[in-house]
């Protein structure tokens, strides 16, 4: 029996178990409903509004839905794993895996699967009611859905490692907000996800285009919106090739960097560290 393959299989089983447990958890169900309900309320109250650029007008609902999906992808797969990793460093989960042979490989595989699967209910609670309540959301039919699928897959590969790296580097779970959430909120805000990026300064546009969130947004809009919406894009095109290139570059960089950062973090894990984190958490609570 190959030990690495065995560990990856166990990791996949672990990811699936965590996902099923999450679906049964009232806390997680509440979170999904809150996110879904909040999004629908926003779309409902803007159902009669339009946005205009270069003489082109499109409904806010149509522009917002792909952008919201992109934002959820960015938040879900960056902040989710960052929190999980920081928390599981402190509660002993990671050390538990470090204490078994090939346990870290299994742990990371489980995390990747769990956070990828976690997007499914989130997408469903937003997409299903949106398509029931609003018209003309998907302008491109089957090819549009195909684009959604590849943007999701590539977006996951590009952003999941960022979450893992943040979770490995933050000093403690309380710091994820500052080190993880804040930069992602800023990057999402400047990435043209909530309003057309042309409204921002040139240098901000340049910064936004370095990061994957902007390109996930472009990719999602290219899937849902008609070509008339190109008026809202920077170069007047969907830049599909560049989207693939930038997201792939982030995915490859993540693939190269993340295992090293994780190994470094795992090397530093010990029982005393877990005990120390527990003491600090108790002090924080008191």
């Amino acid at each position: 029996m190959n030990a690495t393959r065995n560990a990856i299989g166990l990791g996949l089983r672990r990811g699936w178990t965590e996902f099923v447990l999450s679906l049964r958890s009232p806390q997680d169900q509440g979170f999904y409903l809150f996110m879904g309900g909040g999004t629908l309320l926003y779309l409902w109250f803007n159902r009669n509004s339009d946005i205009t650029a270069d003489g082109e007008t499109i409904p806010v609902v149509a522009y917002s839905l792909p952008s919201i999906l992109a934002a959820l992808l960015a938040f879900g797969v960056v902040i989710g794993p960052a929190y999980a990793l920081a928390m599981e460093r402190e509660d002993g989960t990671l050390l538990r895996h470090k204490a078994v042979p090939h346990g870290m490989q299994g742990y990371v595989t489980g995390q990747l699967l769990y956070h990828s699967l976690g997007l499914v209910p989130m997408l469903l609670v937003i997409l299903v009611p949106s398509f029931l309540l609003f018209d003309d959301l998907m302008a491109r039919g089957a090819s549009g859905w195909l684009t959604v699928a590849w943007v999701l897959a590539l977006g996951l590969l590009a952003t999941l490692p960022i979450g893992m790296v943040i979770g490995s580097l933050v000093p403690g779970v309380q710091k994820v907000g500052t080190w993880g959430m804040l930069p992602i909120i800023v990057l999402t805000a400047i990435s043209g996800i909530f309003f057309p990026i042309q409204a921002l300064w040139g240098w901000v546009q340049a910064v936004a285009q370095v990061f994957p969130i902007y390109w996930i947004g472009v990719g999602m809009r290219s899937a849902f919106l008609p070509d008339t919406a190109l008026a809202f894009e920077l170069t007047g095109s969907w830049r599909t090739g560049t989207t693939v290139l930038v997201l792939s570059a982030w995915a490859v960089a993540g693939l190269l960097v993340t295992p090293r950062v994780l190994r470094r973090m795992a090397r530093r894990q010990s029982g005393s560290q877990v005990a120390e984190a527990r003491e600090q958490a108790l002090q924080w609570v008191h």
Binding site: A7, E88, L95, P101, H102, V274
Partner: protein
Amino acid sequence: MIRTRGLRMSYGAQEVLSGVDLEVHPGEVVCLLGPNGAGKTTTIEILEGFRLPSAGEVRVLGEDPAAAGEAWRARVGVVLQSWRDHARWTPRQLLTQLGGYFQPWSTPERPRPYAVDELIETVGLTEHADKKIVRLSGGQRRRLDVAVGIIGRPELLFLDEPTAGFDPQARRDFHELVHRLSDLEGTSILLTTHDLAEAEKLADRILILTNGRIVASGSAEELTRQVAGTAEVR
């Protein structure tokens, strides 16, 4: 099984271990006894490969634990302090999952991992096997920690303050389990405690660690004689 020579560990200017020499032989149960802050956990974490020593030589199962590979890890069992993990899982799920990692290292002489039901019964968690871990009491949770530590049928087991939080019955059950592991499985065990009575009950040999040094070593009777001798001299 374990051999250290001149083991030293410093955190900044503070020296926690100042030249620890210790040996554990096959099948032996050795207890590292000492007050809080004596360096017990640091020693055990170095031996487990979780910490790098500042200086000294360490061999565990013939290898340097800090550089040892996964095959070495499969031969070692670890029960640490302060687990709070996998709250939503059940003991059965957790043991099945973690036990799976040991399967590639199973041999006819030492089948790995333990059968989960058998192990759950051994640690007295049969009634709680399908409860969520978060609903277990402190003692039950600690028994689960022990089960996780031995799921891979280790040749060498590290137990760090294993009975902290146990009630008297759980403590007796645990002592029985340690004897069973040592007698039936031939597992070598190194455990830390600050409870002298527990050390006497469990260990073939006790090492007393104070201020980062082993100041006395021997069976409970030998140590008693040493102390009595010292008293007579005085």
